[in-house]
Symmetry: C2
Subunit: 256 residues, 2 copies
Amino acid sequence: MVDSRRGAKRLSFDCEKCRARADGLCRDCRPEFTRVLALFKSGDRVVAAGRHLFLFGEPSSAIYGLHDGWVCLYKPLLDGRRQILHFALPNSVLGFPPTERGMAYSAQALTDVTVSVIPRNGLSAMFREHPEMAMRIAALVSLDRDLAFDHLSNIGRRTARQRVAHLLLELFVRARMRWPGFHTEEMLLPITQEDIGDTMGLTGVHVNRVLRELRRERIVEFHYRRLRIIDPDRLLDAAGVDPRLAFSWLSRTPSG
Amino acid sequence: MVDSRRGAKRLSFDCEKCRARADGLCRDCRPEFTRVLALFKSGDRVVAAGRHLFLFGEPSSAIYGLHDGWVCLYKPLLDGRRQILHFALPNSVLGFPPTERGMAYSAQALTDVTVSVIPRNGLSAMFREHPEMAMRIAALVSLDRDLAFDHLSNIGRRTARQRVAHLLLELFVRARMRWPGFHTEEMLLPITQEDIGDTMGLTGVHVNRVLRELRRERIVEFHYRRLRIIDPDRLLDAAGVDPRLAFSWLSRTPSG
DNA sequence: CGCGAAATTGAAGACACTCAAAGAGTGTGG
DNA sequence: CCACACTCTTTGAGTGTCTTCAATTTCGCG
């Protein structure tokens, strides 16, 4: 929870240059959504890796459109530990709804990050002039909820091995689907093994032991933020993915 | 997961007669929201305790406005176990968004239940004619997400004792806040000890042992669906509630 | 009153945690 | 450019919480 994550600073994303956006493959990069959001923003903000967008318990009067970089949401506990709730990737909306009464979680930049800030009055103006934006946001929030539901069943009902495998798979798939052109089985994740533990309800030490096994079995490697998928099929197997409905949180049907 | 929950059938809620609604204390009972929802429903449906509103993996083409009764959302696992994701109380919206690709969870009635069914086309008509409804639904979904976040940090980072205490507290508070007139410390919850385990990532056996301790310490009792809060202060303590922001999922600020 | 579901208890074992120390890798400052 | 400082990772030993398995009792409902 220290505000210094130097090892991750280099990781960066540029949605404007995103190939997927150019050829319309990336369904997240909705030109109109981004465009309308831009109409009502008060400005952009650059947040350095390790710094916070907003803090647990503090009132918030704006939402943030994440353009570039990774952000993690977490709840701090009284004893100093924390529970990571969500890893946010570019083109997501953070901090909805804003609340005077104090946010229920913190948002920390994992890499250098750029966000559009849409203050509360901008938000109500946007909903008034572009009612369809509310449904878009409802769909986005709903995806976050589905992902949280997925994490719930992982943490609640799976072994450490399955949890770790599942998280690596999730982050790999979510990050990769934004650049459909790239098909490397290796990538950088701006998180530590401790972070994996904080996400999956494990200690960093035990995450390390699990990773040692997965590496020994030549399934997947995660070492100093470098993720390498060696055997995708067996990783799916190790993750205990339900074939009936794998990665349901991927679907992007705005519904209605 | 058996479709027979006879012990719970008697539990019933009638929002129309709800005192809180009458004097405006219950912020959930929004007359206009309910009224507009009714305009676009295809009809009402009564679901017996134990039956399902919709099933994991099956496509869904409607959302449900829960008027009366308790519903639980859960993910079934491959080995037959399950993870309960959410307990829905009257005046919540279930099944948003509907999806062709198969729902990511099941919805089972814990008591006899009445719902309004709003089919997909009714939903789009509603959003077109009443744009503010999208924001309402966004706010509702957002509350569900916050509650899921709360459960995540409970399951991930707390002891069995804290989890059980926290869940009993949550259900007590959520159910009670709908009838502000009643102040009994005793109530019926339409769930079993096994269900508590399925919610908090524990076995029913261990939930029972934890409840034995809490009963011995005269903090709280839960026996055959009867919940009795003996010592609220020490229950808060046992739950390890963060005084900085207890029950953040209670807030009903629609934002925007 | 009897059947089935839910709750209760015991004993044994497994998985993940704690504590502690050493090693590896990265970025910074000299 | 190199060495230092710090974070992150790795490993071991011992412990404890929670699970598994199985049997028994209590309770609700017909």
